[in-house]
Amino acid sequence: MRLEPSQFLSEKALPVWRLRAFVESLFVALVPITYGIIIYFFSVPLWILWILLSGYIIYVVLTVVIIPPLRWKRWRYDVLADEIDLQRGFFIRKRTLIPMSRVQHVDTEQGPLLRRYKLAAVSISTAATVHQIPSLTIEVADELRDRIAELAAVVEDE
């Protein structure tokens, strides 16, 4: 069994994830809202609306309040001299290894939400896959990007 990677994401990731989860939950809210509109026009039982509403509230509590800290605790990474080691996922725990020699390029990305919190994501591309480390502080992200680029240039494929 390998040791877990040692580095955590920025703590500011939590509010970003919560905000994002809340915005996403608004799409789920469309279900009780639509049902509410249907009630207005047709005679359908009211109790279903209460079930849908409480379902929505449970969903919000889960995705906005409970899951983000658990996910944050699980999200870890390590950038070593010869490989990148990622661990993430709450329901399904994923552990990914990317040898440094396979890295083709590395980017930092920043959407409007991340920019407000002075955060950035690092994307690592191989010939076949793209991996992302989300929500790092800008300084860490920049440093990481430069370090990976440098290491990838040094480690030549056998």
């Binding site: 069994m1 390998r2 040791l3 070593l80 001299a81 010869d82 490989e83 996922g89 329901f91 399904i92 725990r93 994923k94 552990r95 990914t96 290894l97 990317i98 040898p99 440094m100 020699s101 396979r102 191989t126 010939a127 076949a128 896959t129 991996h131 494929d157 056998e158």
Partner: protein, 483 residues
């Protein structure tokens, strides 16, 4: 710039005809739709089609007029574009694969199509010269190959290139070709296509014939349905039989140094070249008809190369027995010539395979059964079939590795054994769901480059220890400790 060459003028017709072919299905569909609606609607369809045909024809002319190329000192220069001029230089060391095809339309004019794939071409990784003479194509190929060969070999090789003699030749035997055609897995697809057509043809058969034919069989309703199914399966089977014969007839692999030249096809002749260094993985696929007979199909995944109709892979051996595969690998890809011992998944994962395979049809059957009782409950037959597949999937799932290679075996419908070299694997991953964790199981997946995209291969529910071993094997930095 006077030495710029155009394609053969027949390129206009070739591009017109191939565009026509790709419009054939929408055309037939619109014909069916049109014929059943008002006459005015039908005429409108016709006008639209005429406009499209004219447009295609002029595009073909435009393409021929503007497409020019030149090859000098191992560098291919191409300019094209009707409104936006595009110029492109392709240097020989960037060339991944060269594919000479003689499609049906090219053969009408005695021409070939040359497809050149380059490394990391971005949006357009390939260049097609759709109609040139065979000598010209061979010339371009020789020119683009030259320096590659010279750098690793002596001048003697150049003589060799002039009158090439393969180091090794693998030919598909006729009896194997027939077995391949009889057991083609394209059958399922053809059945659905024929069934769809059949439902349309029914309208066109004169009622007299239709009645006479079916009165003979149709003593009962069940009999009628059975007759339909038998006819559909038989026609589909004939089509896929002929299709496979045409596709893989004359299948030959020639090996020159490290290059594999694969030729195949009776009507549509294809030839493509794969450099054995570019091979990223090998897949041995045994479909449900071939597996009991001990046959399988070998595909290669390679950086560059591959065609869309094979999901970007290339067929290396259309059909072969285990021993033949090992013998052929020994010559073609010695790196992969060995037997692969598969460590099966532990027994405790059987339950998960059963559930995964049957949960969706089970729920569907219960729901539909509750709505349209009792006929809906016939769905349990499908659930039983899925359970059977679940067992087969469990039985086949497994993995293994040695110091250079990693292999996974799994089944969706056909059994697949995928083998890759550590150096070609781009990333590896273990997934553990909460339930898997309780049973000490894990899902293992690795990714490789196939043609221009990434492909991942996954095996579900292997022993967690086995998955950890594989990840450690892949790791350049094994920090093995006990948790």
């Amino acid at each position: 710039m006077s030495d710029l060459k155009r394609l053969h003028i027949a390129a206009i017709f070739v591009s017109f005809l191939s565009a026509l072919r790709s419009f054939l299905i929408p055309f037939i569909i619109s014909f069916f739709l049109g014929s059943s609606s008002e006459p005015i609607g039908f005429f409108r369809f016709e006008y639209i089609w005429i406009a499209i045909l004219v447009f295609i024809f002029f595009t073909g002319i435009g393409h021929w007029v503007t497409f020019k190329y030149r090859i000098i000192a191992g560098e291919l220069y191409i300019q094209r574009g009707i409104f936006v001029k595009k110029k492109r230089y392709i240097q020989q060391h960037r060339v991944q694969s060269i594919d000479i095809t003689a499609g049906l339309f090219q053969r009408l004019f005695g021409l070939v199509k040359l497809k050149i794939e380059t490394a990391g071409g971005g949006a357009e990784p390939e260049v097609n010269l759709i109609a040139i003479s065979r000598e010209e194509a061979e010339g371009i190929r020789a020119e683009l190959k030259k320096r590659n060969a010279v750098t690793d070999q002596t001048e003697r090789l150049e003589e060799k290139l002039d009158k090439p003699e393969a180091d090794y030749t693998w030919k598909l035997k006729t009896n194997h070709l027939i077995i391949a055609a009889l057991t083609s897995s394209g059958l399922g697809l053809t059945i659905s296509a024929v069934a769809a057509l059949f439902s349309q043809i029914e309208q066109f058969l004169p009622e007299m014939i239709y009645d006479q034919v079916f009165r003979f069989f149709a003593s009962t309703e069940i009999m009628l349905i059975t007759t339909f199914i038998v006819i559909i399966v038989f026609i589909s089977w004939c089509i896929s039989f002929v299709g496979t014969l045409l596709k893989y007839g004359g299948f030959t692999i020639e090996k020159y140094e490290k290059e594999l030249v694969i030729s195949r096809g009776l009507i549509e002749k294809r030839q493509l070249t794969i450099h054995s260094n570019n091979v990223t993985a090998i897949r041995v696929v045994r479909n449900i008809f071939r597996q009991p007979l001990g046959f399988g199909t070998v595909y290669v995944e390679s950086a560059g190369g591959g065609t869309n109709d094979e999901q970007l892979s290339t067929v290396l051996l259309p059909i072969a027995k285990e021993e033949e595969m090992i013998a052929a690998f020994a010559e073609l890809l010695p790196d992969y010539a060995r037997e692969y011992k598969v460590e099966s998944v532990p027994q405790r994962s059987l339950r998960r395979f059963f559930i995964r395979a049957s949960i969706a049809p089970f729920i569907a059957t219960v729901v539909i059964g509750a709505l349209v009782s009792p006929y809906g409950y016939y769905g349990f037959i499908a659930v039983a079939v899925c359970l059977l597949f679940g067992f087969l999937q469990y039985n086949d799932a497994g993995s293994g590795f040695d110091h250079t290679h990693l292999w996974l075996r799994y089944r969706k419908i056909s059994q697949i054994l995928v083998i890759s070299n550590k150096r070609k694997i781009q990333s590896a991953e273990i997934r553990t769901s909460i339930l898997q964790k309780r049973y000490r199981l894990a899902t293992f997946r690795f990714s490789i480059l196939s043609s221009v995209i990434g492909k991942s291969f996954t095996v579900f529910d292997v022993d967690k220890k086995e998955a950890d071993k594989m990840l450690n094997w892949y790791s350049a930095h094994s920090k093995t400790t006990i948790e």
